[in-house]
């Protein structure tokens, strides 16, 4: 009897889950559908109608939109900034974390607490001075902004790395040092390999942040070099008019890399998010 009851409950739950899944997917489908419709058929009441002979415009929204906001160069900037920032965050903060964990002292613990503090300060606190300062010292270009990402991403990443390093026994490192290895060699051949899974977690969290970040690239390099989020917001252009057709097409293009990345690295992403949430 109880078994039968459970079966029915499960069927009901399954149906509810289907509804929720539909709710999640629905907005994406709406955008996809509207991306092949003419401008005038998107706003207001036409949004949920399937494209028909009158409203279908093929891929012209994609062509126009990509041209208008130089989507592919925006994609290039986004890709470059994300990859380079994440690579440098991983390398530099793992080194920093190892140093401040293994060298005990007032200075290193002060550094540690400053980094933790930086994790809670909202970006609005520093956005104005940071963007002006970046211009003053000429790092307001797609290379210089990486320094800013490393600096701003430092907190969480060092925190997570040092949390992990604390848990690994000193013995291995000491053995290497006694064998005559320099700290550099010890770090790269003994410590770094052990950090692999933490590094993957951090890489995923930082990638999600940098790729989707809007304000920093907008303020620091936005007038000349637009990343994808900045370029999309820029479509709200020309005297307040929004070219909704191009907008829909560009939203689709912006989502494709994210969804592909997700489907391929799902396991790592969910693991990373989990680890990040629990530790952060």
């Amino acid at each position: 009897m109880a078994q039968v009851g459970k079966k029915y409950t499960n069927i009901i739950i399954f149906l509810i889950l289907l509804v929720v899944a539909a709710f999640i997917i629905f907005p994406i489908l709406v955008v996809l559908m509207n991306s092949v419709k003419g401008n005038l058929f998107i706003s207001s009441t036409g949004a949920f109608k399937l494209p028909n002979e009158q409203s279908f415009v093929g891929f012209s929204n994609y062509v126009n939109g990509a041209e208008r906001i130089s989507f592919f160069s925006a994609f290039g900037y986004s890709l470059w900034i994300t990859i380079a920032s994440v690579a440098f965050i991983l390398l530099l903060t793992s080194m920093l974390a190892w140093y401040i964990t293994r060298v005990k002292g007032k200075v290193t613990s002060a550094i540690y607490y400053l980094l933790v503090f930086s994790m809670i300060v909202p970006f609005q606190m520093v956005m104005f001075t940071m963007s002006k300062f970046a211009n003053m010292i000429h790092i307001d270009n797609p290379v210089g902004i990486i320094i800013l990402y490393v600096g701003f991403g430092c907190g969480m990443s060092t925190f997570m790395f040092s949390g992990f390093i604390k848990s690994i026994p000193l013995a291995l490192e000491e053995a290497a040092m006694i064998d005559g290895a320099t700290p550099v060699k010890t770090f790269f051949s003994v410590v770094l390999p052990m950090l692999k899974s933490t590094a993957i977690t951090i890489a995923i969290l930082e990638t999600m942040w940098v790729w989707n970040d809007y304000l920093m690239p907008y303020l620091v390099i936005g007038t000349e070099y637009r990343t994808i989020p900045v370029a999309i917001q820029y479509l709200r252009g020309g005297y307040g008019s929004v070219d909704m057709g191009s907008m829909m097409a560009m939203l689709v293009l912006a989502m494709i890399p994210v969804i592909v990345f997700y489907l391929f690295c799902q396991k790592y992403i969910i693991k990373g998010v989990l680890a990040g949430a629990v530790k952060g």
């Binding site: 211009n135 003053m136 290379v143 709200r236 005297y239 307040g240 008019s241 070219d243």
Partner: protein, 445 residues
Amino acid sequence: MKKALALMLIAFIVVSGAFAGGSKEDSGKTEIYFLNFKPEIADVYTDIVKPAFESAYPQYTLKVVTAASNQYQSTLRSELSKSAPPTIFQVNGPVGIAENVNTVAPLQDTDFYNLLADKGMALSLDGNVVAVPYAVEGYGIIYNDAIMRKYFALPDKAVDISSAEEITSFETLKAVVEDMTAHLDELGIRGVFASTSFMPGSEWRWTTHLVNPVLQAEFGDLATAQSAKTFEFKYSKNFQNIFDLYLNNSITPKGMIGSKADADSMAEFALGQVAMVQNGNWAAAQILGTQGNVVADEDIKFLPIYMDLEGEETKGINVGTENYLAFNKNASAEALEGADTFLTWLYSSPEGKEIVTNDLMFITPFSSFSSDEVPNDPLARQVNIWMNKDGVTSIPWVFNGIPSEQWKADFAQAMLEYINGNYTWDQVTATAQDAWAREAELTGR
């Protein structure tokens, strides 16, 4: 993982090398940085003006950056504080000068200023000419004469005039518009007026342009408006007259206007769905560029904006400019010389003038242009007709005296609340008054 890191490092070094190399200025060339205000012609500057100028004057490079809509002031301020600031920028009138007193360079000795036909149109600061207008514009109610002829041919029309040109007062305008709304099907339109666009960033047709006749009636001229500490909104009811007429006879119900941009309004006009839309000659490109445009060029005409102000039968459309160019005095002497060379070339050489009339489509205030060198679009021609019409005088642009962008934003929001039914018109009026007093004080009037 080590390999991956090494690869990334190499990639980084290569790319940074490319950037470092690219960011160095070509030796011997002077860069002129022009921060453009008009997004609708951004492509003309980069695709036509820039190559033409650079081949005429190879010693210069021209960098044109266009700010996103409604972002000009903030973009300008952030660009000006940078290490490579704009050489040429736009100010929208005396208010713009006041915001940039430490930046504007004297222009009285430039060739560009000398081109100006009426020297009185330039803006001054402490005895120096600091900004020169480059385009004169006119706006009013644009109507589709084909639809109007159809209406006046109706046997049961409620008015006794027989063409749109005979409309010379708010009373007649209202009678015609409301009767047209009663005959929508026969006229084959979906509303008399195009959408009263209120999508964020699209409110400027009401907060600046529509309010202009009211400001002019209250203050008289720009000089008075720009020093006014208070704004009584004496003609608030008149503004409401025309605003209500737009809203109640619109293609779009009130609740929906928040999703309409001005481009939507122009598209509705071009597709023949509406008979009238308030806008200026700069919108010609939007009408002509709409896919499926059904309005014949000769049917696109202007009507003054009537709102029952005294003596309005002798008033024409609103003609003026908010397009002034200023030079940045903190730029290098070579760049400033280049800026003068560039603008003089653009507005007086045969090649430059052709671009101005055909591609930028400006009606210019410069003596280097003869009366037949005006853009060939229907609205520019209409502006000329109205400026030279017997018995009417154009209304000058006084809205440049509005104390700040914030006033426009507050006024727009109050109008939106009125449309949504949350404000009475008196509350809109009060907001306009209060915001003016506050902003006037903040800007140090």
